[in-house]
């Protein structure tokens, strides 16, 4: 593959424009309502963070390539063509100040799915060489090492040994014919290995047959975040190959929002064919076990807690009721934040923003939105189902001097399981 260039970027933008994109740009009346739905605008009041404005280069390409007047304007030299500098100028808007959370797509009165278009625009930005260094590094590591954080199989094996010893539970690896293949995010392996133990304990009690794969344990997909579909497809294919080789019925996406988006919704489109297996989020599996009466709890979490909806799981993924069902099973005092579920506010770190050190200050500034949500309900703990949200929420709480424990929903359930 040739290196990045403006021409490649321009062509990628051209190719990304489809009927929905054209309908969206045709319909935008510049009302500005998307700004008030975006935490990068609400917490800075800087108009440049208006979501639809982040798409200006893509809109220009659409107008000049796919509309009569745009083509005419370009031909007679009235409208200025897109330049490489335009893309360079937009890099921080497209990568640092958009988490692809899709909240803007929910409030646009004409119905524009702005996040859908940002995802497309990143394909052009990356092809033109205007992606952030942090994401380029993560993507390179994902391709060469197998994990955006550089986690190799021996690290996972060490965590498996440690987990098996600590919890006295078997963590199956490469078991052919298992019902489920569980994927993990590097953050779970390195920062939250308790998740692996929780899977072991829950599945043991519920009698679920499952396995991890030494060939494909990483669920996250930097290719999707940076906007390079070739790489994204390669990372998905590793999982497809492993799932097919192990002959599993379903692949379980871990507590990670974008991993779910990448494998569940983008995956088959990236590799160009439907999967031979189902893809389910861990919360969907757990809620199904709950409805089947296969989760026996010894007690409930007594402290007052709330749930932070990871955007790609709730708003963009449709897994909204399941965590609430599970929380009501495992907690006595579960309360909702104001603006929750499909209208929840992003933690500020999704869509590759957390891999992009350049965005650190902005990311922490936008945490004020989450702080306001939390201040309104006065809880003792936050539960979530995404390790990326979890790490950023922890950083944000520390930055704003808030002492609130953060819990994983899967781990919370495991903690309250009835003893064998």
């Amino acid at each position: 593959m040739s290196g990045p260039s403006f021409e490649r970027g321009y062509n990628a933008l051209k190719e990304e424009i489809d009927a929905p994109t054209a309908a969206f740009f045709s319909s935008c009346v510049h009302c500005g309502m998307c700004a008030e739905a975006c935490l990068f605008f609400t917490e800075t009041r800087d108009p440049k963070y208006t979501p639809i404005h982040k798409l200006e280069p893509l809109r220009k390409v659409w107008r000049q390539e796919y509309t009569f007047w745009g083509k005419l304007g370009k031909a007679v030299g009235i409208s200025r063509p897109l330049t490489d500098q335009d893309l360079a100028d937009w890099e921080t808007l497209v990568y640092d100040s958009c988490t692809l959370c899709g909240r803007c797509s929910m409030v646009c009165p004409v119905g524009n799915d702005i996040a859908y278009m940002i995802r497309k625009m990143r394909e052009g930005m990356a092809a033109a060489g205007h992606a952030p260094a942090g994401l380029i590094g993560a993507t390179k590591r994902a391709v060469t090492i197998g994990s955006p954080m550089g986690v190799k199989l021996p690290a996972l094996q060490a965590q498996i040994r440690h987990t098996e010893k600590e919890y006295d539970v078997k963590i199956p690896l490469d078991v052919e014919g298992a019902e489920y293949l569980c994927l993990l995010s590097s953050m779970e392996i390195m920062n939250f290995p308790e998740y692996i133990g929780s899977l072991g304990r829950i599945f043991k009690q519920a009698g679920v047959s499952w396995t991890l794969s030494s060939e494909a344990f990483e669920a996250t997909n930097s290719g999707v975040q940076i906007g390079v579909s070739d790489i994204a497809a390669e990372l998905v294919q590793r999982i497809v190959d492993a799932a097919d080789a192990l002959k599993v019925k379903a692949v379980i996406s871990p507590e990670c929002g974008h991993a779910y988006m990448a494998i569940r919704w983008e995956g088959p489109n990236l590799v160009g064919k439907p999967f031979n297996f189902k893809v389910v989020h861990i919360l969907e599996v757990l809620d199904e076990l709950r409805t089947q009466g296969r989760l026996k709890m010894k007690d409930k979490e007594a402290q007052k807690l709330t749930y932070h909806d990871p955007c790609q799981i709730s708003r963009r993924g449709g897994v909204i009721e399941q965590p609430r069902n599970l929380l009501n099973m495992v907690a006595d005092n579960f309360v909702e934040m104001p603006e929750t579920g499909k209208m929840n506010w992003c933690c500020g770190a999704g869509g590759g923003v957390s891999s992009n050190e350049r965005a650190d200050d902005l990311r922490l500034k936008t945490f004020a939105r989450k702080k306001a949500q939390l201040d309104a309900i006065n809880v003792n703990a936050i539960v979530t189902a995404c390790s990326n949200c979890r790490i950023h929420l922890e950083e944000g709480l520390e930055e704003y001097h808030m002492e609130l424990p953060l819990l994983s929903l899967t781990e919370t359930i495991a903690e309250h399981l009835a003893e064998e």
């Binding site: 309502m33 739905a37 009569f68 009165p109 004409v110 119905g111 524009n112 993924g317």
Partner: protein, 219 residues
């Protein structure tokens, strides 16, 4: 050209030309959008794209509570002028006669004084919208010539309609002629400016809702 000749020209050849340009332009715009197509969705569906599409087409009329709090002026003024436009365009008896002449369809109208009052309210709302566009930092940044042009050609028929209704300054044929001409300007620009959102928003809402509905997500 006398005032009457002007009126006859505006009502005849100019109206036909404007109607043709508007219809042909809209067809071109629709083709420009639909011919781009869309890749087939290969992920297993969790919900219905069609149900999501139809739902979002309707449900987007109702802003969520948070948006209402944060973008109240935009929403309220937007509703007032859109409803006002609907009433003065479609429920004024002389307009209904024009629609009947063109399409053969007719429906009951509202008394003229109610239309007149609605027209004034709509103009006030549009002036408010314009001031908001100029003063609000986000809208000012987003706005380009197109946005102001669209505002102007929407406001002009309301103003000329008001002047014609109240017979201000000029002869009746000239006032009505100017009013019709201003509407023709709107019709000609309709397909090629953001005015076309009146049609394309249904597509946009459909696609948004269908993409979400397929995933079992509410949009």
């Amino acid at each position: 050209m006398t005032d009457t000749e002007f009126l006859l020209w505006v009502r005849g050849p100019a109206f036909n030309a404007a109607t043709f340009i508007m219809c042909a332009g809209l067809v071109i715009r629709f083709l420009e959008i639909f011919l781009l197509g869309r890749k087939a969705e290969l992920a297993e569906a969790r919900g219905s794209a069609a149900a999501g599409g139809f739902r979002t087409m309707l449900i987007r009329f109702i802003p969520d509570a948070g948006s209402f709090q944060r973008s109240g002026f935009t929403i309220v003024s937007g509703y007032i002028f859109h409803i006002g436009l609907f009433i003065v365009i479609f429920l004024f008896v002389p307009h209904i006669l024009v629609f009947e002449a063109v399409s053969g369809l007719s429906w009951p109208g509202l008394p003229s004084n109610i239309i007149d009052a609605t027209n004034v309210v709509t103009m006030i709302a549009l002036v408010g919208v314009l001031i908001h566009r100029i003063k609000d930092p986000v809208m000012r940044m987003l706005s380009e010539f197109n946005d102001y042009l669209v505002w102007f050609v929407t406001f002009l028929p309301l103003l000329t309609g008001y002047l014609a209704f109240h017979r201000v300054a000029l002869s009746a044929p000239m006032l009505i002629g100017l009013h019709i001409l201003s509407v023709e300007l709107l019709m000609v620009l309709f397909p090629f400016t953001k005015l076309s959102h009146a049609f394309t928003l249904w597509m946009a809402r459909w696609y948004n809702g269908a993409i979400a509905g397929y995933k079992g997500v509410q949009s």
